[in-house]
């Protein structure tokens, strides 16, 4: 069975981290599993964890009164779930639910924040990776704002 550090080394998100940093981060992680339909995160609740999905599928949704849960994104193996643990007020902004059985590494956000505070270099490397994920999701939102399937579609 692979160690958490070995699992992390296989993931694109952690590529480029040296072994020492990987071991450091892995020390805050544990393997978790969710069955399809399980709630992983709940909007408004404290955010002290983030997940690196190894396999499965997760839906991020936003509860809209009168419309119920509106799914705004779906994540797969290799994706990172959750960044509210990095920023005050450390509360989840969305719900997250497993759509298929999920295997993930869950990281203790408080542990990681403390490590990042004491090791600015590691903190920078991690924030850089989260910024890349955020940029990709921001770009995705911008494309939706542009309505890329809108007028001009070939008919």
């Amino acid at each position: 069975m692979k160690t958490i550090a070995e699992l992390l080394a296989e993931q694109t998100f952690f590529q480029g981290l040296d072994q020492g940093s990987l071991d450091f981060v892995a020390g805050c992680g544990r393997n978790v599993h969710y069955s399809a339909g399980d709630r992983i995160l709940t909007q408004g609740e404290p955010a002290h964890t983030f997940y690196l999905l190894r396999s499965g599928s997760v839906a991020l949704s936003f509860y809209v009164p009168g419309r119920g849960g509106v799914i705004i994104d779906t994540l797969d193996g290799g994706d990172v779930l959750g960044w509210s643990w990095l920023f005050e007020p450390y509360k989840w902004q969305f719900d997250a639910e497993a759509r298929a059985d999920v295997a993930a590494v869950a990281f203790d956000g408080v542990c990681l924040r403390n490590k990042c505070d004491s090791d600015a270099q590691l903190g920078y490397l991690l924030v850089q990776r989260f910024a890349k994920v955020m940029l990709a999701r921001l770009q995705s939102v911008r494309m939706r704002m542009l309505d890329i399937y809108g007028p001009g579609t070939p008919s």
């Binding site: 839906a59 119920g68 799914i71 779906t74 399937y149 001009g152 579609t153 070939p154 008919s155």
Partner: protein, 283 residues
């Protein structure tokens, strides 16, 4: 992909609509229908996947419509979205109605040149229409190709065209199919997000992969950028373009995009040819 006028479509004939009868009409979405057409007399030349016809709604006008189905025999299918007077008239055509057909025009997807390698088909909105015959061809000759992946994006589940058929492609497991929408409720089992974001989730062997993309220009640009970012050469990325096509035979110039005419040199182009043109604001 030839850049000359197909030899079997002579300009004189190419300007005369051939009467076709609507023999079937299937509603795809709230504003889109697929018409099945059969010739009343002599048929047009059998089209190749990617080509388009000019459809004439008698007394109203003519519009370019891509071919969404090439059936055995002489039947062709066109998927039309009601966006203007002519397309509204075509969408309203019931079985038995007559339409005029000129064509087929333009370049095709060049499916044969992708044989032996991987193929990724990417459609946005009604852009799946001209790619549907490609998927049919890939399924029909599945052994000629390695991995086949179809990515389909739409605003919402209700705006996905060919929903039942796409589901059957998924169920067949002969090809990989992913559908994505901008927003959805829990009932939706596909992906959520724009179609370019699915590209990072696809296995790509850039040296042997051919990518075929159809959708609005903005979608083409984002999607092509993602594909190029995965190492696929611009020559291996093909896109189907739409501009103001009117004559269909390269005479009127309305569909000019810099040095190319969409109706004559396209509508299917390698990205290496039109990508730089789309980045020029003056065009």
């Amino acid at each position: 992909m030839a850049l000359a006028l197909p030899a079997d479509v002579r300009p004189a004939d190419a300007m005369v609509p051939v009467p076709y009868r609507v023999v079937g009409r299937a509603r795809e979405t709230a504003d889109t229908v697929t018409l099945s057409l059969e010739p009343v007399g002599s048929p047009i030349v059998t089209p190749a996947p990617g080509q388009f016809n000019m459809l004439y709604a008698f007394g109203v006008g003519e519009v370019p419509i891509s071919i969404s189905g090439i059936d055995a025999g002489q039947r062709v299918r066109h998927t039309v979205r009601a966006v203007g007077a002519v397309s509204q008239e075509l969408c309203a055509a019931e079985a038995g109605a007559m339409v005029g057909v000129r064509g087929p025009f333009g370049t095709d997807w060049g499916i044969d040149s992708a044989a032996g390698g991987d193929v990724i088909v990417i459609a946005g909105g009604i852009g799946l229409a001209p790619l549907r015959p490609v998927v049919h061809e890939l399924l029909r000759n599945r052994r000629r190709f390695r991995r086949v992946t179809v990515l389909v994006g739409a605003r919402s589940p209700e705006e996905l065209v060919f929903r039942g058929e796409v589901a059957s492609w998924q169920a067949s497991a002969r090809i990989t199919v992913r559908t994505t929408v901008d927003y959805a409720t829990a009932a939706w089992k596909g992906d959520v997000g724009v179609v370019p974001t699915l590209i990072e989730r696809v296995t790509i062997d850039p040296e042997v992969t051919t990518v075929m993309i159809c959708g609005p220009e903005v979608m083409l640009r984002f999607t092509a950028a993602e594909v190029l970012g995965r190492g696929v050469a611009a020559e291996r990325v093909r896109v189907s373009m739409e501009r103001n096509v009117q004559c269909g035979v390269g005479r009127c110039g309305h569909c000019q995009l810099g040095p190319v005419l969409i109706c004559l040199h396209g509508p299917v182009f390698p990205w290496s040819r039109v990508g730089p043109l789309l980045a020029r604001r003056e065009l």
